[in-house]
Symmetry: C2
Subunit: 444 residues, 2 copies
């Protein structure tokens, strides 16, 4: 059963799954911008019902005006509801509800990146089978229209790079560490106090959230299936203030980047802290802001910047998806933009490069015993493994006679660097663990 009618008076009925921060923000935005939306789309959006877990919880005045229910079927089986907006987050029961809504011929709009990263391919198939759309602009980059840009505006481009700061929590922590010379723990506590980080910050600071988003971006950019499990993921919890300071002195900032690059041989997908030249726009994205850099063969280099999270910005993307669906709700499915930008039959699996095959430049910091031959031994080990040094800085030894050596390398295959570091780690002159961070110049 496909819902194909708007109300006679141009009203579109929406059912909301979840009424947390983003859900409440969406209701507030729909009320506040009702006139603006009608001026643009010629129709009104009515939130007919919202699914919640607790009917008695205190809610905003806007949310109070919406009928609540504890029963999913009050939304999923209501024939008047044409669009279901899923804002519960998490995999279950979100997946089950979304699938049920699609099977009932309802369009679905979601902000759930984990759901799309893990189950997107299967859910898109269900949507296609039932002639409806599953939209997810809000899943990546909050209000930034990166999904629409990749799917529609860059339709003629062969895209070979998508690189972003896509997790506001991590970027806030890194900004605090850089500006306040703070430790990771101090900056995280600050982020938690401000509500930018959750009590359990693992998903954000260990890069899992960013990896979800990267897998979605890469699929749309390259026309490949979503492959979340293949993303190499490294968080920011091991970063120290001393490396951030050295990076600054060398003219770099450390950002937590999600990197998707397409080569002739395959695709690399990686999330990790990265040194970025200080003059690049990406290096100047501060606080909870997000930015996504795209390179295509026609457009060249482009960057989209904005709030990557927050109730209002995310709601902005949710409502953009709703208005897109509204515009073509009565039209045939073939008029709609395909879920991943490419038609379902044109999605092509592409080989994935393991991180050991990735070529990138590195920042290395070593604690070295102050001894005449030490530097020679280290540079010899690097040279033997084919690692070329771009610059090198040796800081005066501590009282214990341990000097700090900071190196920047040219681009080298990760496996080669690993080999060199394994050998260097065994040298008698090297103390402590070697710090190794990747570096991206944004010019290759």
């Amino acid at each position: 059963m496909t819902q194909t009618t708007q109300d006679a008076d141009g009203r579109v009925a929406v059912g909301l799954l979840g009424l947390g921060t983003v859900g409440s923000g969406t209701i507030t935005l729909l009320r506040r911008s009702a006139a603006e939306i009608e001026r643009r789309c010629g129709a009104r959006i009515e939130v007919r019902r919202a699914l919640v877990r607790d009917l008695r919880r205190a809610r905003s005045a806007d949310a109070e005006a919406v009928p609540l229910t504890l029963e999913p079927k009050d939304i999923l089986e209501d024939p008047q509801i044409q669009i279901v907006v899923e804002l519960m987050g998490g995999l279950e029961p979100a997946r089950t509800y979304v699938e049920a809504a699609l099977c009932a011929g309802k369009h679905v709009v979601t902000a759930n990146k984990a759901l799309i990263a893990k189950h997107g391919s299967a859910l898109f198939r269900v949507a296609d089978e039932h002639g409806v759309t599953l939209s997810f602009e809000a899943a990546v980059g909050g209000g930034i229209p990166i999904i629409k840009t990749l799917r529609e505006s860059l339709a003629s481009n062969r895209i070979d790079q998508v690189i972003g700061i896509v997790n506001g929590t991590s970027n806030y922590i890194l900004t605090e560490m850089a500006q306040g010379d703070a430790s990771f723990e101090t900056a995280l506590a600050q982020a938690q106090a401000l509500g930018y980080a959750e009590a359990d910050p693992t998903f954000d600071v260990e890069g899992i959230d960013a990896a979800h988003k990267l897998s979605i971006l890469a699929a749309i950019a390259f026309g490949a299936p979503i492959t979340f499990d293949a993303v190499y993921t490294e968080g920011i919890s091991h970063l120290t203030a001393v490396d951030i300071r050295f990076a600054h002195e060398l003219g770099y900032r450390i950002k937590h980047l999600a990197i998707a690059i397409r080569h002739h041989e395959g695709i690399e997908l990686r999330v990790h802290p990265t040194l970025v030249p200080a003059h690049r726009l990406m290096a100047n994205v501060a606080g909870v802001m997000n930015a996504v850099f795209v390179r295509g063969d026609a457009i060249g280099e482009a960057l989209l910047y904005g709030a990557g999270a927050g109730a209002a910005a995310t709601a902005s993307a949710v409502v953009a998806d709703i208005t897109d669906v509204m515009r073509v709700i009565e039209a045939e499915p073939r008029y709609r933009v395909p879920h991943l930008g490419f038609r379902a039959g044109a999605i092509e699996p592409q080989p994935l490069l393991p991180v050991s095959e990735v070529v990138t430049a590195y920042y290395l910091r070593l604690a070295v015993i102050d001894h005449p031959g030490a530097l020679a031994e280290i540079t010899r080990a690097l040279a033997d493994a084919g690692v070329s040094i771009e610059s090198l800085r040796q800081l005066p030894p501590s009282e214990e006679g341990v000097a700090t050596l900071v190196l920047l390398t040219h681009g080298v295959k990760e496996a080669q660097l690993d080999a060199a570091l394994a050998r260097i780690g065994q040298l008698d002159v090297v103390r402590e663990r070697i710090t190794r961070l990747r570096l991206h110049q944004f010019d290759e």
Copy 2:
């Protein structure tokens, strides 16, 4: 007569008006990305014919493959052509041809900002009457999807600011002046040598091109009619290296900004050189790149950055428009996004603030006779007119006893500043013309 059929084999026939840089770039891109477009849209775009002024002119290999004509009617009256792409530039005969194409039931895609700024409102009406679309993403910001973002992605936002670097030529010249400490004339000559500026650079360096673009952006952002004639326009030809240097020393960069701000009392539309704090992303947009900052009540602050000109980037936007039209070419007109994002009946004229009513901060540079009471006289005149000083710097006098005074003011109504400067200009202690530049902090 409305064209409503695609070829049986999923081919869309396009006619090209104009085969200059962007026209040739569009043909090249369509050939190179034919497979990518078919993967995304399920149809092929065939350039059936191109209108040129000279059949014998040498062309690229890709362009050579397209049948040429000197006769507009070979395109405008060809019933097989469903989409006309106008890349001639200028007002006439572009306007006549575009109108004829729309009247013949053909969709039109154009990169012509002057045409849209001057005749957009009338042409949109013609398009609506004939059930077709006039698309113009390429008219502003080259490949940057700013039109689509404003029209679709920010549909639920009440937008109150759109501020951009929208002319690559001017930005290139300003970047050269800043980095090379060059004069305007030297930097312009450099831009001309590289093909970034035309032999007659007036449109670019005097801000007319930027004003065209600003009037289009403001209409879409605010849902107001396009009002090109109301834009206050000031170019960059009067800028001197000395002011750029002083601005740097004070922590600012000088950028040529196109500014549209909506206040309760009305809209301000102005194009002029502007001091921008050096840490803002906008201050770091270098060379021929463009960027547009948008502020909306839901999305907050966002910025889109990319190549604002060039054959490939502009062609990227042209082809994006073609693919958008292709998707809904057989659908009813009501499924399409309205020309200005708002439905024709919902476009509302809004009062325009004259520049004398605009409140902004200023940079002032004065040549002052080195005399104990000079500074007191100047600050008194400013205070009397209600101009508040944010900072002040006095440079040691030259051998002729003339000191340089550089002032930054707080925000003040332009009429008040004019009154103060009129009085200061008559003081005996002030020599030469007073230099006055506006300043925007991006935090109001």
